[in-house]
């Protein structure tokens, strides 16, 4: 790996060139402000400035009751909005020991895997866009729009779906939900070879990502990275395997772990994860158990005082919810341990010594969502 550099921070000499990859920048996918200290084109030091999209969701949840704060979480990581809501509902169900019917569990897992697919598709399109190839962006949105159509028919909205409710799902799935999902999965499997032709086998893309942004296993663990970023460096940390929730104990899928730890490894891990998500969907789509889609939960949820912890595997890593309740209908304190927050910490060790072009490639491979960092 040509750009492994010592970890000592080089003192800045006077002709240091400081530029702000500022809040408004095409490659930051949002409002991340990085202050780079450059020596020519080489990055010497990197300092993140956050808070440009900090809306105080944790403070707001303390003044909303248990049924209301769930839908704020879909504004945090809006690409895996459904998985965030699922995590909150699981935490509340664990707090009040509610019994969730089987049908609701399977529907939730199906929707979670579909949301993961849309998130990885958008990541793939914007990786191409960051590397300068504009066309993959439009091919990524082709399947994504089909899946969003399914979300729209069942849940009513495309992006922030608000489909999960403590105790199950809001309403039953659309009659031709099963047919459409099967058709999309078949079509997406045929188009996957196009994904490889457009970017994976492209020599320029490979030359820009192989060996760039190396993250060793120890550094990933010490920086608490989770999700595809950690699995590309050899850590097995898939919550769906470690603590299966909903219907994940019923499906068999393998956790993709590679050890190279560079940008191309993270790219390959996410492409493989798309295939695994499709396996899960295919295993579940045919045997959705009949029955109730939601258990009736009385109006005001008042969980007994105490602390509750629930973790879930979103498209970008492990989302942990620490719920502290004092017996009233409003949570006393909620902490969202979001995956992007600690993955951002990995940006600095990976990009020191690299060029600005590498920084863009590394940020594309980290797949950061800034409202998930700032909350």
């Amino acid at each position: 790996m040509e750009n492994i550099i010592g970890s000592q921070i080089i003192q800045s000499s006077d002709d240091e060139f400081i530029i702000n990859v500022g809040p408004q920048h095409p490659s930051t996918h949002g409002v991340l402000h990085l202050q780079l200290k450059l020596d020519g084109e080489k990055i010497v030091d990197l300092k993140p400035f956050l808070g440009y999209i900090h809306r105080g969701i944790e403070k707001m949840s303390e003044s909303l009751n248990y049924k209301q704060f769930i839908y704020l979480t879909s504004r945090m990581d809006y690409l895996s909005a459904h998985i965030n809501n699922q995590a909150c509902c699981l935490a509340i169900e664990k707090a009040i020991q509610a019994e969730v019917p089987e049908r609701a569990r399977v529907i939730r897992t199906l929707m979670a895997e579909l949301a993961r697919l849309t998130s990885h598709q958008l990541w793939w399109g914007s990786t191409g866009l960051d590397m300068g190839a504009v066309s993959p962006f439009f091919y990524a949105f082709r399947e994504r729009e089909m899946i969003l159509e399914i979300f729209e028919e069942t849940c009513g909205s495309r992006l922030t779906m608000n489909y999960c409710v403590p105790g199950g799902v809001m309403n039953d799935i659309h009659p031709d939900f099963v047919r459409k999902v099967k058709q999309i999965i078949k079509q997406f499997r045929d188009n996957l070879h196009e994904y490889d032709e457009l970017l994976t086998n492209n020599p320029i893309f490979q030359s820009r990502t192989i060996g760039v942004g190396y993250l060793s296993r120890e550094e990933a663990i010490s920086l608490a990275c989770t999700g595809p970023v950690a699995r590309a460096s050899g850590i097995s940390c898939d919550v769906r395997k470690k603590e299966p929730y909903d219907a994940y104990d019923r499906v068999t899928f393998d956790e993709i772990i590679t050890t190279e730890g560079d940008c191309f490894a993270r790219y390959k891990v996410r492409l493989e994860e798309m295939k695994q998500s499709m396996n899960i969907i295919e295993q579940l789509i045919d045997n959705i158990p009949a029955g109730e889609y939601r258990t009736k939960i009385k109006g005001i949820i008042k969980p007994p005082a105490g602390e509750y912890y629930q973790r879930v595997e979103t498209a970008r890593g492990e989302l942990g919810i620490y719920l502290v309740s004092d017996g009233t209908n409003k949570p006393y304190r909620i902490k969202f341990r979001t995956p992007n927050f600690s993955n951002l910490g990995a940006l600095k060790p990976m990009s020191l010594g690299g060029k600005i072009g590498d920084l863009v490639a590394i940020m594309a491979s980290l797949d950061l969502i800034i409202p998930d960092i700032d909350r």
Binding site: F17, I19, E41, G132, Y139, F205, G357, D358, V360
Partner: protein
């Protein structure tokens, strides 16, 4: 065509006045040609990019979005020309004009058709390459004068890129000039009467054509080499601070340079306005001669234009060190070896 205008002018004015009016008319013709071609190529680029990306491209403005490019140009004219406060005022305002005039200059020796050539100088190709290499001064000026860190980085990158790719472009041109024996544009085209250089010059001409294509794409700051205004890395590169008409000039200059390079390519490799003749099939050759020569010329120009647009919407972007490594470690040595082989072949006379 030019002779017919010449007689008209001599009838009206005294000799030297006729010459002046002739030059002004020629200048006007070139400017109109450039503006029309730039607008057409903006429209072409957006439509081809759209069809490559499964979408429709501009549809609402003209019949099929035909007036879209005109709307863009006129809107840019009506925008407020901003000069940043700490910018170096004179340099900031000269840079776009320099880049544009340099790309206009290169139109002089190009032969659109046997009778339509502005100035048939005997060093045509040398003139074009030397003039088009002055464009980089305008870019560096723009980058430095706009007092913005991103544009400075963009200008440095494009300076290094254009200067280094001039070399391999020049060597590729040299092999063809060596084969055809003359530097003047009409001389090169006449030498391709019995077959285009890309067929006649077999291996060395083909290698030279590939090197010329890569090097000229890099010289235009386009496609896989568009590091100068890399949108994702340096917001808008060297023309970050330019707005309104000044930005339109950079926009226009980019497309005009694209035209010049594709015209140079067609003149050298694809036989300018020469129709396509295959050996002794005279029936086929007669049909080919029916098509007027300037249609041949513009047909070939638009084919190479399509190639540039095709590159842009498929390839991701190279990093600055890979770009320079490609030039100095790969293109230059291959170009040199190709030059040696070409000279041996022309010396032994093994050209078809």
């Amino acid at each position: 065509m030019t002779h017919w205008i010449g007689e008209k002018l001599n009838a009206l004015f005294s000799p030297e006045w006729a010459a002046y009016v002739g030059y002004i008319l020629a200048g006007l013709a070139i400017i109109i040609l450039v503006v029309v071609m730039a607008v057409v190529s903006i429209y072409l680029e957006r439509k081809i990019a759209a069809f490559m990306q499964m979408r429709l491209g501009p549809m609402r403005v003209g019949k099929w979005g035909t007036l879209q490019a005109f709307a863009d140009v006129f809107k840019l004219m009506l925008k407020e020309p901003l000069t940043p406060a700490q910018a170096d005022k004179q340099l900031f305002n000269i840079a776009p004009y320099l880049v544009l005039t340099v790309s206009f200059l290169a139109f002089a020796p190009i032969a659109f058709s046997p009778s339509l050539q502005l100035w048939d100088m005997n060093i045509g190709v040398l003139y074009i390459t030397s003039v088009s290499s002055m464009g980089v001064i305008g870019i560096l000026m723009a980058g430095w004068a706009s007092n913005n860190k991103y544009s400075l980085l963009g200008a440095m990158r494009s300076g290094a890129q254009i200067v280094s790719y001039e070399l391999s472009a020049g060597i590729a041109i040299l092999t063809i000039v060596m084969m055809s024996g003359s530097l003047s544009v009409s001389g090169i085209i006449k030498s391709q009467a019995d077959g285009w250089w890309i067929f006649k010059g077999h291996i060395p001409a083909l290698i030279a054509f590939v090197i010329f294509a890569i090097a000229s794409t890099a010289e235009l700051n386009r496609a896989p080499f568009d590091l100068a205004e890399a949108e994702q890395e340096l917001t808008a590169g060297f023309h970050t601070e330019y707005s309104g008409m000044q930005f339109a000039m950079f926009f226009l200059a980019e497309y005009t340079n694209m035209f010049i390079v594709s015209m140079l390519g067609t003149t050298l490799f694809l036989g300018g306005w020469m129709p396509l003749h295959i050996g002794n099939w005279d029936a086929f050759n007669q049909i080919m001669d029916k098509i007027p020569p300037f249609l041949w010329f513009f047909g070939k120009v638009f084919i190479s234009l399509f190639m540039f647009i095709w590159f842009r919407w498929t390839f991701p972007r190279l990093r600055i060190d890979q770009l320079l490594k490609l030039e100095w470690k790969y293109l230059l040595p291959i170009g040199m070896v190709n030059l040696v082989i070409g000279s041996i072949i022309t010396w032994l006379g093994w050209i078809f």
